[in-house]
């Protein structure tokens, strides 16, 4: 597709008037253009490879340290024991893993109905002016730092939870999942909104022509058609909820135990890492175990990304 400029007629005409080495000048300009063209192609290729190199660095550095864990403690202890007392050599991460999953599930329980409702409102029901008002606001909300959400959770939400539930502390899964809900709500609703808006108009018109009400169109035609996109949005929200650190660490209570109720101070993978990693020796089983937890986080998010890819790939096949 690319044709280098070296002998445009107009340029040749201009060149002939120049007395000193017209042909050399012409050739050098053409060569320069060709060389830049080639160089930049390699530069762009280099930058994408650099990006992949970063991913390799992540996996290498975290994984290298992580797998040293199993020289010291057994696989079954790490994954199945609920006892995390590093001072006495007990490195059971099961409570963190279970807490991470229950926190994510609880968050989704709150966030999914809210954000899909919001997405339906923006995409199907609201008039145009309202749409162009809500969308930028949701986009702004994505930008608010997670630490601020955590701080608000600590200073505003936890006192409310305390007075409503009558608990002494108020920290725990409920507080953390409410904070996370607010954090992933804009992401999930904006992506679901895109998925719903992408449903072809003819589907809706066909349903209306059969005499459906708007609710029937939304529930029976639009949502099923946008289902895969919405599923991808929910999984993306999940990856954010699992990987979120600072907002969770401020409200969850940071105690290494299994969260048996909504108000038990607990700890998840991310919050435990950030609370402990600065205080441990680099060459210690404790540090290795923390790296193993980070590696677990990586594996979980890679798995979720794979699922999203599978979902959207199938959608592509259907459209074709």
């Amino acid at each position: 597709m690319s044709t280098p400029v070296h002998d445009l007629p107009a340029q040749q005409g201009a060149m002939k008037k120049q007395p000193a080495h017209p042909s050399r000048w012409k050739r050098s300009r053409g060569t320069r253009v060709r060389i830049t063209n080639g160089l930049f192609k390699y530069y762009f290729l280099f930058s994408i490879l650099a990006l992949c190199f970063v991913l390799a660095l992540v996996i290498f550095f975290i994984g290298k340290t992580a797998f040293l864990t199993f020289n010291e403690i057994s696989l079954s202890q790490f994954f199945l024991s609920f006892d995390w007392t590093p001072e006495e050599g007990e490195f059971g991460a099961a409570s963190f893993i279970v807490n991470t999953f229950s926190l994510t599930a609880l968050t989704l329980l709150f966030a999914v109905p809210l954000s899909i409702g919001m997405a339906i409102l923006i995409a199907e029901i609201a008039p145009k002016w309202l749409k162009s008002f809500i969308r930028p606001i949701l986009d702004l909300l994505v930008g608010i730092p997670s630490i601020v959400y955590g701080y608000l959770g600590l200073t505003v939400l936890i006192p409310i939870i305390r007075s409503v539930s009558g608990e002494n502390l108020g920290d725990g899964l409920l507080a953390a999942s409410l904070v996370l809900t607010i954090m992933i709500l804009p992401t999930v609703s904006r992506i679901s909104d895109d998925a719903i808006s992408a449903v072809p108009k003819k589907y809706r018109e066909a349903a209306y022509a059969l005499g459906s009400t708007r609710l029937q169109v939304i529930m029976r035609v639009v949502l099923p058609a946008a289902g895969r996109g919405i599923a991808a949005a929910i999984i993306l929200g999940m990856t954010r909820a699992i990987g979120e650190t600072m907002a969770v660490v401020m409200v969850i209570g940071n105690t290494s135990q299994l969260a048996k109720s909504l108000f038990t101070p607990a700890s998840v993978l991310t919050s435990n890492i950030v609370m402990q990693i600065s205080n441990v020796e680099f060459d210690s089983t404790w540090n290795y175990a923390l790296h193993m937890m980070a590696f677990l986080l990586l594996v979980i998010s890679f798995g979720l990304i794979l699922i999203i890819r599978l979902i959207s790939k199938k959608r592509g096949d259907e459209a074709a």
């Binding site: 597709m1 690319s2 044709t3 280098p4 400029v5 445009l8 253009v33 060709r34 063209n37 930049f40 762009f44 290729l45 930058s47 994408i48 990006l51 992949c52 991913l55 660095l57 992540v58 550095f61 975290i62 809210l114 409702g117 919001m118 339906i120 409102l121 029901i125 609201a126 809500i134 606001i137 986009d139 702004l140 930008g143 608010i144 730092p145 997670s146 630490i147 601020v148 701080y151 608000l152 607010i182 009400t213 708007r214 609710l215 029937q216 990987g243 650190t245 401020m250 991310t270 890492i273 950030v274 990693i277 600065s278 680099f282 980070a294 986080l297 990586l298 890679f302 990304i305 890819r309």
Partner: protein, 293 residues
């Protein structure tokens, strides 16, 4: 005239429809009100107490009345350094994916890499920075380490927004440019980039806002302290940022006015993030309006 008599089922459907519409509006109103209340709470608690002194003074460990001067400076310093590192590579890889990448297995693998990297939790980038800079190079917790780790975090988002922006450029424009006999790179430089620039800049603002408020990476790579001087450009001094300072003040500080400092820091943080987001978008909105007319 109308011979259509609604059955009970029809009537029920209509009632449900009305009720659901009302419910959706109520839900939307609640969420919007909640968002405004959230912003109001943050800004109203903190903004009234902010003055120039607070923004430029050094933090105090024991006495009342400490400022956030160095941490605010570090926030911007680390942000700018990380953008300097990540923009050339991020935008470059976005352009590669949109303009050069052939349709084959290799490209699929590259795309997979970008998506995977964007799913890596920020705390893991912090641990990577810790492993590389504090352990491997053994330079401790530094501004340099924080900037590089933050740049890693920015890369996949930058690549994605650039790719989307470049793909949105109509191919007519490219073909017209090729018809004038330009090379591929000349077309990218003189046609594709200028057209997609405003989308790329919006994307960069998004990334910058996120990076400014990022704390999990910085807390592990730049530490919880500053060098204690204002305007410290040394790359190897510890570089606590504003977001980390907010965490430090509310969890570990022993000064009496910790609560006020935290409130004010949160307000400054949100204000700057909103400002970064708005600053570059407003002129673009006006531009768009002009173009449409």
């Amino acid at each position: 005239m109308s011979s259509f008599t609604p059955t009970r089922k029809n009537k029920r459907a209509l009632v449900w429809d009305k009720a659901a519409t009302g419910l959706f509006y109520a839900l939307g109103a609640c969420i919007l009100l909640f968002i405004f209340w959230l912003l109001y709470t943050i800004l109203s608690k903190g903004l009234p107490g902010i003055n120039l002194e607070f923004l430029t003074k050094l933090p105090e460990e024991i006495d009342v009345g400490g400022g956030i001067g160095p941490v605010l400076f570090n926030s911007f310093y680390i942000l700018i350094l990380s953008l300097i590192i990540s923009i050339p590579i991020g935008v470059g890889s976005g352009i590669y994916m949109a303009e050069y990448a052939p349709k084959n297995k290799f490209t699929e693998a590259l795309r997979m890499c970008v998506e995977t990297l964007s799913s890596v939790p920020s705390i893991v980038f912090g641990m990577l920075g810790l492993a590389i800079f504090a352990e491997y190079f053994d330079i401790g917790l530094t501004i340099l380490g924080a900037s590089v780790s933050l740049a890693f975090l920015n890369l996949p988002t930058l690549a994605r927004v650039t790719e989307e922006a470049v793909r949105a450029v109509p191919s007519d424009l490219r073909n017209a440019s090729y018809a004038l006999g330009t090379t591929k790179f000349q077309t990218i430089r003189t046609v594709v980039l200028p057209v997609s620039l405003h989308a790329i800049i919006t994307g960069i603002c998004l990334v910058a806002g996120r990076a400014f408020g990022e704390s999990a990476v910085i807390i592990l790579t730049a530490g919880l302290s500053t060098s204690g001087e204002m305007w410290d450009f040394n790359l190897f001094s510890p570089g606590e940022t504003l977001a980390v300072h907010l965490w430090y003040v509310q969890s570990e500080a022993i000064v009496e006015d910790a609560r006020q400092i935290a409130d004010k820091s949160a307000a400054v943080l949100v204000f700057v993030v909103l400002f970064i987001n708005l600053l570059f978008r407003v002129p673009l909105w006006f531009n768009n309006r002009k173009m449409k007319r």
